[in-house]
């Protein structure tokens, strides 16, 4: 698949081809480690955005990198490596969602260092936010995987339709259609979920109190 997320970046990306690519092609452990350390966070973020909190995060990240290693010989530098590996992560997440084997709890050892370190307003808000996020993902679970991914990449990640289409290997019109139907489905599901609205109000209220 050829990705053209930025037509002007094509020649630049070719010029800035990372030095460890050749090492990865040869399977050198140091090059693989360099690639992993540089893009692990990106892959984790993409998969978390698309799949939500799941104990399968480690498996999905590993699958993404193993798939990348298998096809790295075919990487020609026509898109940036980040875009290329993101597209693999999107496909891995899509495959996982379509398999329908979602597990909705996160194991305790996946609690992020960043979150622990970041100042939280209070425990109540933190719990509400987690619950809200989890509930939203539960609603998203009811939307077809492709529509869900298109919606999340477009709405939450703020990517353009062209980028989403390239990442998912679909046409722009198909992508627009997926986003449209996902929005419609999610709107209906959110409207039917009163608990969700109460949670949102609770969080907004707590934040206002905190700000005051």
């Amino acid at each position: 698949m050829v990705l053209h997320s930025d037509p002007h970046a094509k020649s630049t990306a070719r010029a800035e081809r990372p030095s460890w690519i050749a090492g990865c092609c040869a399977g050198e452990p140091t090059a693989v480690a360099a690639m992993f350390s540089e893009y692990c966070e990106t892959v984790e973020r993409v998969i978390y955005r698309l799949v939500g909190a799941t104990p399968d995060l480690e498996d999905l990240v590993q699958t993404t990198f193993i798939e990348a290693m298998r096809s790295i010989q075919r990487y020609r530098g026509e898109a940036s490596f980040k875009t290329w590996i993101t597209s693999i992560a999107v496909h891995v997440a899509q495959h996982h969602l379509r398999a329908g084997l979602m597990r909705r709890h996160a194991p305790l050892d996946l609690v992020p260092e960043a979150r622990v370190a970041s100042p939280m307003p209070n425990l109540e808000v933190q719990l509400d936010e987690r619950r809200l996020s989890s509930r939203l993902h539960a609603l998203l679970d009811k939307i077809p995987a492709r529509q869900r991914i298109a919606l999340l990449l477009f709405t939450v990640d703020g990517r353009s339709v062209e980028e989403v289409a390239a990442l998912m290997g679909a046409s722009q019109s198909t992508t627009r259609s997926r986003v449209f139907f996902a929005r419609r489905a999610l709107r209906a599901k959110i409207a039917a979920d009163r608990d969700l609205a109460e949670l949102a109000e609770s969080i907004v209220g707590c934040r206002k109190e905190g700000a005051a």
Binding site: A26, M69, H105, L108, A114, E129, S134, H137, R187, A200
Partner: protein, 434 residues
């Protein structure tokens, strides 16, 4: 902003943080006039929650594991594996050649060696043969189970081993290792026929390269490619302890049914330790009595017929529940014990364990109840009973004024089950703790 449709597009643009100042202003004006779009905006603000939440990340240990696996699957890793195989193969071939030569010389001297080797099925019906496993590593012979513990064995001919509470028959060419005082076998090649007496010392396991068989008092045959149960019940799990299948008498299971599995052999202690099925000293809640354990939610064995024992287990669990409701915890535990011996499914075992814990609670045996709840919570993670047990632990600790432990248990429950049935109660309890 002329229409609600345009306003809704603008709302999405705001959520995506890509709205211009002018668009935002026009949207504000429209929202001031249109209640419907205000509710629409409130709904889409929820999506901001997903964007603003910091993503979960793998810990350092998990990253290390992932990196190790990636390197292993890289082209260089494949070459390393190939070299390792060659390094292992050369001494193995030399050893095998030497062993074959010795056997040939002995046979030439008139030893009645098995020219036509009986199959394992034939071997099962014969008296135990002389145990003379050949130790590949030590190149010596051992005659008792103690001498071969922790040693890799490659059997030249068929034979049997008597382990504590179990008898293991093997055929020629079988390669295996006995661990955990003879209660665990790692099978590398060939075939073992295992007969395990119920109520032996601890759980008996056979670890094959791609799956693990847990024994619940039975007789069965294990090959690296599958399992055949002759009588009784076995549970097949993967290296992570996830249940792949439960096999009853006369059923077979093939590893291909399990799909891709981790190839690495598991280390000691990796598995959760569900309570021994034969000795019911387990589990469960005063909170919620499970309605029914009839859900056959273990992974069904393809082509296997539904065992008649499942209904019996249901019946016994129902009797246990009635006995507990009537205030007779001993009778309840007797029924639970019988149920666990009646080929229960994974779900039925979880329900039985919860009931057993409840029976301890009724008698005021808090420590045993707590231990039973912990086993249920850890061993039956995929069933609702696990959630019930997790909350029961926290509740019990609160009642016993173990404040710190109760806080930890409540936080763990909320973390693990953010939409759980008891999450509101858990949060209230957490807030009320001193």
């Amino acid at each position: 902003m002329s229409s609600c449709r345009q306003a809704r597009d603008a709302i999405i643009a705001v959520v995506r943080q890509q709205a211009t100042e002018a668009e935002s202003l026009r949207l504000e004006v429209h929202l001031g006039l249109c209640a419907s779009c205000r509710s629409e905006q409130a709904r889409w603000h929820l999506m901001e929650q997903l964007r603003d939440q910091p993503p979960l990340r793998l810990g350092e240990a998990a990253r290390g594991r992932v990196l190790g696996n990636i390197v292993m699957f890289s082209p260089a890793g494949a070459r390393t594996r190939e070299r390792s195989r060659l390094r292992l193969a050369i001494p193995f071939l030399l050893t095998t050649t030497a062993v074959v030569a010795v056997a040939w010389v002995l046979a030439a001297r008139g030893w009645k060696n098995s020219a036509a080797e009986p199959s394992l099925a034939e071997h099962r019906n014969t008296a135990p043969a002389v145990i003379q496993p050949v130790l590949v590593q030590a190149q010596t012979q051992a005659k008792t189970i103690d001498q071969i513990i922790d040693q890799t064995i490659r059997a030249q001919g068929p034979g049997t081993l008597e382990a504590p509470g179990a008898r293991i028959a093997y055929r020629a060419g079988t390669s295996f290792r006995m661990l955990a005082r003879g209660r665990r076998i790692e099978l590398f090649a060939g075939e073992v026929d295992v007969e395990v007496a119920p109520g032996g010392p601890g759980r008996f396991r056979v670890v094959a390269p791609r799956f693990i068989v847990e024994v619940i008092g039975t007789r069965f045959i294990v090959r690296p490619t599958g399992v055949e149960t002759l009588h009784g019940t076995v549970r097949i799990v993967d290296a992570a302890g996830r249940e792949l299948a439960v096999l009853h008498a006369e059923e077979t299971w093939n590893v291909e049914q399990a799909g891709p599995l981790p190839l690495a052999l598991a280390e000691d202690g990796f598995l959760p330790t569900p309570p021994p099925a034969g000795s019911v000293r387990t589990v469960a809640p005063a909170l919620v009595m499970p309605d029914s354990a009839s859900a056959s939610d273990h992974h069904p064995v393809e082509g296997a017929t539904k065992p008649p024992g499942r209904n019996r287990a249901d019946l016994l669990i129902a009797e246990a529940r009635s006995a507990l409701a009537a205030g007779d915890p001993e009778l309840a535990r007797a029924r639970i014990s019988a149920a666990l011996g009646a080929r229960p499914t994974g779900r039925q075992r979880a329900v039985a364990d919860l009931l057993a814990a409840a029976s301890f609670l009724v008698e005021g045996r808090y420590e045993e109840a707590l231990a039973a709840y912990r086993r249920t919570a850890e061993s039956f993670g995929k069933y609702p009973e696990s959630e019930t047990a997790a909350f029961a632990i926290a509740q019990l600790l609160c009642e016993r004024d173990s404040t710190d432990e109760a806080r930890t248990a409540l936080q763990a429950y909320i973390e693990r089950y953010p939409e759980g049935r008891f999450v509101q109660d858990a949060r209230r309890k957490l807030a009320s703790l001193p």
